[in-house]
Amino acid sequence: LPHLSFMRETMGIMQHHDAVTGTEKQKVAYDYAKRLEVAFRACGANTRAALNILTTGDKPKPVEGHKPRPVKFEFKTCALLNISLCDVSEQSEHFVLTLYNPLSSSLAEYIRVPVPDNNYQVLNDKGAILEAQYVPIPRGLMDLVYRHSKTKYDMVFFADELPPLGYRSYYIKKTKERPLKPVPDSPN
């Protein structure tokens, strides 16, 4: 509950009209960003615990003096996916992407994962290999002065049958294959 209160308090502050419209002073904007980051990190402990229970089927054991079990998966959020940045997908040869559908109906969504190379394989929870397409990260984004990253592509795959208020996980691994790099249409 204290973790959630970080987000509760931050969301209370973020309802100020300056926060909604962006008319706050810049130093206040930095403070809002900091508070949101802290709140996301705090709530991350809850989502991590809940998702580890859900995905492994374990039951929590709230025994006094009981040492908490080691976390099996980290379930990190990547706040900079909007500029194709994510430490996990950039640095890992194997990683798991878990998608939680917050809608009350099932959903099909195209997922974009920033990756440094174009040789990954996406497997769903049934072991099926999903089709993946690589699209170069646009030049304007690559040239951003404060975007330091080795990612060159957005890997796109189609995640369907995401259950309402539920999740599906995908196992993504780098392969030794050397597929063709995406090439643009020839100039007309």
Binding site: V20, T21, G22, T23, E24, K25, Q26, T47, L51, F73, E74, F75, K76, T77, N82, I83, C86, V88, Q91, S92, H94, F95, V96, L97, T98, L99, Y100, N101, P102, L103, L107, A108, E109, Y110, I111, L123, G127, E131, Q133, V135, P136, P138, R139, G140, L141, L144, V145, Y146, V156, F157, F158, A159, L162, Y171, K173, P182, V183, P184, D185, N188
Partner: protein
């Protein structure tokens, strides 16, 4: 202008002209002229001692005049095609670029724009808009959402409950857009969904515009006591966001479902899946 290239799927197809601008959209056999461009207003520099003559700033949008400036006449484009998504990467100038994409099973087009740092070397504050011009005969009428819920009918240069004298034709017709702005005629309907609250309007028949970024050099004397001129790492701020373009038959005509499709799309884009990444040393079999 002649069409140079097109991207699309079975639901929607976008045509781009020889200058690299969007030129037409086809849905279900109906083709409409729809162009898209980035333009800017120059921010007003006023005398803050006079209430009606304040500068454009954080709290108020007041262009120096109502004529917009173009950002380019020629867009560099690169087209990538695949079985899941087709993308057009557009470069308007050194500080505006955009990716237009259509996924294979979606009935809308995404316009992911990147704007900034807005240059102010000429000592002129700028307010950047994206504008979609269509051949739809909207007759001054357009629709904006009320915080993502019902749509409100707007009529240019008009208020329902008082006689209006518009002194500022652009700013006086701007409305808050939280998720959607739309217009239609007897046959066609165009809606743009946003990923954040923005200002928007329809200043000409068939035209929709949304303000995407602003950099101003004067305070507007409404309290913040500083110009809206923010920097990061020594440069002006860069903004990135997405607009979703939906085109269909208007409710008055063939299809009563277009607004329903917009509602479904709105839910999808404003409440997307939460993505959690986990490094793992497990093999796929162990993970299973």
């Amino acid at each position: 202008t002649s069409s140079m290239t097109s991207v699309g799927n079975e639901y929607i197809r976008l045509n781009f002209d020889t200058n690299g601008f969007l030129s037409a959209v086809t849905v279900e056999g109906m083709t409409r002229i729809i162009s898209q461009d980035f333009l800017y207003y120059e921010g007003a520099v006023g005398n803050n001692m006079e209430f009606r003559n304040r500068s454009s700033g954080a709290y108020i949008f007041r262009p120096q005049n109502d004529s917009m400036k173009i950002t380019t006449t020629d867009v560099d484009i690169t087209v990538y095609r695949g079985s899941l998504v087709e993308e057009v990467h557009q470069k308007f100038n050194n500080w505006i670029s955009q990716v237009v994409r259509i996924y294979s099973q979606k009935n809308y087009a995404e316009f992911e724009w990147l704007v900034g740092p807005i240059p102010v070397d000429d000592d002129i504050g700028k307010e950047i808009i994206t504008r979609f011009d269509t051949d739809i005969k909207s007759e001054g009428m357009f629709f904006t959402d009320s915080n993502g819920r019902e749509m409100i009918k707007r009529l240019r240069n008009h208020r329902d409950t008082w006689n209006l004298e518009i002194l500022e034709p652009a700013a006086g017709n701007y409305y808050p857009i939280t998720t959607k702005i739309a217009l239609e005629d007897d046959r066609a309907r165009v809606a743009i969904l946003t990923d954040r609250a923005q200002g928007g309007s329809s200043l000409r028949n068939g035209s929709l515009e949304l303000m995407v970024h602003r950099r101003l050099l004067h305070d507007d004397a409404f309290g913040v006591d500083e110009a809206l001129n923010e920097t990061a790492y020594g440069h002006g701020l860069i903004a990135r966001g997405t607009h979703y373009l939906m085109v269909g038959f208007s409710q008055k005509n063939d299809s009563p479902t277009q607004k329903a499709l917009e509602r479904f799309a709105q839910l999808e884009v404003t409440l997307p899946t939460w993505k959690f990444f986990s490094k793992t040393n497990y093999t796929f079999e162990e993970w299973m």
